[in-house]
């Protein structure tokens, strides 16, 4: 049975306040159980990052010669101890802040810089686009691990330098995504309509392009956080990032590798944290992506 309703004649009550784009995205996101779970994990990690030092049961720097490499469940040490007898649980909790910081910061910096490059290239088009994107491609041609190691090695060890090198590593992929989305949006009729209204390029980008481009680029950048954490851990592992005795998962993975035969479970714990975090960010990005794909 087909019922036709003239929208003009619908009672006012039936017409709710129109849901905005982000409200719709939020509702669709909440329908995805896996993505919501991933978001909760990310939330827990963020809480640990902020309040870690207060939540940790023990001092993460306090070592003990007598209680080295104790197994999981050892009395007083829920997750055992590391090679210097420091409480693993406390170190993992306190290490969240630094690990997330060096994972997220380069992605945020690269998101800003890469978006500017990609949107400029995509909106300008023509030879501007070609010259900018070919330059970006030179960086893109290197495997990201190699590029990160080479840049960090050239800049010297230290957190700041590893953040800079990771930022440079992530600019090309983000710029490419921003460029392709911008090129696609630029071809839509509403951009032509905006041009036809006499608006300048800057106004069109601000009002009509940014809102449509930043969403997809943000989702892509979210998925890069996992990669950034793994790369940052790799740099720490190679001694190019965080210095001991700072608790950071990548560095912990490095220093515990000697214990891989005696206490494999302890040695695997920092790796497990990196794994959980990267999976959570990836699933969160996936959920955001499908929530934002609103059918026309």
């Amino acid at each position: 049975m087909h019922i036709t309703v003239d929208p003009q004649k619908l009672p006012e009550l039936a017409m709710q306040k129109s849901a905005g784009y982000w409200q719709t995205v939020g509702r669709r996101f909440m329908q995805q159980k896996v993505a919501v779970a991933a978001a909760l994990v990310v939330l827990v990690l963020l809480v640990l990052a902020v309040f870690g030092p207060w939540l940790a049961p023990m001092d993460p720097y306090q070592s003990s010669i007598l209680k080295r490499l104790k197994p999981i469940g050892f009395p007083g040490h829920l997750l055992g101890t590391d090679e210097l007898g420091r409480d693993m649980l406390s170190r993992l909790i306190v290490g969240t802040r630094l690990s997330l910081f060096i994972g997220i910061t380069p992605v945020i910096c690269a998101f800003v810089i890469g978006s500017v490059i990609g949107i400029t290239a995509g909106y300008a088009g023509g030879w501007v686009n070609t010259s900018m994107m070919r330059t970006i491609d030179v960086f893109y041609a290197f495997p990201s691990v190699l590029l990160a190691i080479a840049l960090s090695g050239a800049l010297g060890a230290g957190i700041t330098n590893s953040l800079i090198s990771l930022t440079i590593v992530f600019i090309p992929p983000i710029a490419r995504v921003a460029e392709s989305v911008t090129t696609q949006i630029r071809g839509r009729d509403f951009v032509d309509a905006a041009r036809a209204s006499g608006a300048g390029a800057f106004t069109i980008v601000r009002v009509h392009v940014l809102g449509n481009v930043l969403g997809p680029v943000f989702v892509y950048a979210t998925s890069l956080i996992a990669v950034a954490m793994i790369l940052a851990s790799g740099l720490s592992f190679l001694g190019l990032g965080v210095k001991p005795p700072e608790p950071e998962w990548g560095l912990m993975l490095n220093t515990l590798r000697t214990a891989i035969y005696t206490q494999p479970w302890i040695a695997a714990l920092p790796g497990a944290m990196i794994f959980i975090t990267s999976i959570a960010f990836n699933l969160l990005a996936d959920g955001l992506r499908s929530a934002m794909e609103i059918k026309q």
Binding site: P7, Q8, E12, M15, K17, S18, G20, Y21, R188, D189, F190, D192, A193, A194, R195, A196, S197, G198, A199, T203, V207, H208, G211, N212, I294, Q296
Partner: protein, 352 residues
């Protein structure tokens, strides 16, 4: 809303004169530098849009209708030729592009793609006036007023997003946006083609009402001949980037002069057995605009083609019925066997 202050040349001066418009799109060469060539999308088009009229533009897909629309809106810039809007050259010092765009607006075919999905419809409509310096509150008030004028209650629709509206409602929004600058010339590029027939009829009537209310001039581009006949005062027929016939709507539909127009009109399906066409339908696809035929571009498909047609390109000439047609059959003394022997009387010449 009187628009007379903007009117410069009076009612007799054409709203828009299109002179020798040419747009070729270069094809990409391959790595060996071969290929190349150009698509002759619009290849020497001349016509005038008179004040207050609706000029229908018809033709097959790929004949250059949409390219012409984009050229008129200056979304793409012509290779050659010029546009003269109410006596002033578009892009010249008297009428810079931004000022021209305040007077000319366009409605696109795809009602969804032509609205920013992240903006409420009142913001979409208010955008153009704000670009031209209207304060936001005033622009939004104007947007709401226009929503009412196109039949969408502003209190219910103003804060909605494009995906919440039907195709017909969205196209009403697009029309309201085109009116927001109080433009005088509106280019409707297949503006109703994507709508259901019943909705299409409503939107067409809305367009006619708005034309009356605001004193608008339309360039109405469509492939639907019935719709063009219903809407247009004059009709322009395009074939492969060129104008083949232009004339009053009734004249052209009753006495089509160009063989292409005749074939096009005979392709209109009719339910009336008495009006069933006996004329041969158009055979084949239009030729490739990259490498158009020599002489008259229609001659490979034309039933009346003779030697002259493949040798020389015909120019627009007047017929006895008053329209202009580019066909050797209508040029007196041409080498075509069906051409009249004597030139037409001066009575029809002065129509121009």
């Amino acid at each position: 809303m009187p628009l007379t202050p903007l009117d410069l040349g009076g009612p007799a001066q054409p709203m828009l004169s299109v002179r020798g418009l040419v747009k070729h799109f270069p094809l990409k060469k391959d790595v060996f530098g071969k290929g190349g060539g150009v698509v002759r999308a619009v290849d020497g088009v001349d016509f005038e849009v008179l004040k207050g009229e609706t000029l229908g533009v018809v033709g097959e897909s790929g004949c250059g209708k949409s390219t012409t629309a984009r050229l008129l809106m200056q979304l793409i810039i012509q290779d050659q030729g010029e546009l003269i809007f109410d006596g002033q050259t578009v892009g010249g010092s008297a009428l810079p592009l931004k000022a021209y765009r305040r007077q000319t607006q366009m409605v696109f075919q795809d009602s969804y793609a032509s609205l920013n999905p992240r903006l409420t419809i009142e913001d979409s409509i208010a955008f153009a006036p704000m670009v031209h310096g209207v304060p936001q509150s005033e622009a939004v008030a104007r947007a709401r007023d226009l929503l009412g004028r196109v039949g969408l209650a502003p209190e219910r629709f103003a804060e909605r997003y494009p995906h919440e509206l039907s195709g017909g409602q969205r196209q009403r929004v697009n029309i309201a946006r085109a009116l927001a600058l109080q433009s005088r010339l509106i280019i409707l590029d297949e503006a109703v083609s994507a709508l259901d027939k019943s909705v299409e009829a409503q939107v067409l009537n809305l367009l006619l009402d708005l034309k009356e209310d605001f004193g608008l001039t339309y360039v109405f581009i469509s492939h639907d001949l019935n719709v063009v006949r219903y809407m247009s005062d004059r009709v322009l027929v395009m074939y492969l980037g060129q104008v083949v016939e232009i004339g009053n709507s009734e004249t052209l539909f009753n006495n089509p002069a160009h063989p292409y127009t005749q074939a096009l009109l005979s392709s209109i399906p009719t339910l009336d057995p008495d009006r069933r066409t006996e004329k041969p339908p158009l055979a084949g696809d239009p030729p490739n605009p990259i490498n158009p035929p020599t002489g008259c571009r229609f001659h490979p498909r034309c039933v009346h083609a003779q030697d002259i047609c493949s040798q020389k390109m015909p120019v627009l000439a007047h017929t006895a019925h008053g329209q202009q047609v580019a066909c050797w059959m209508h040029v007196a003394g041409s080498a075509h066997g069906l051409a009249p022997a004597h030139p037409l009387g001066s009575a029809t010449q002065e129509v121009a």
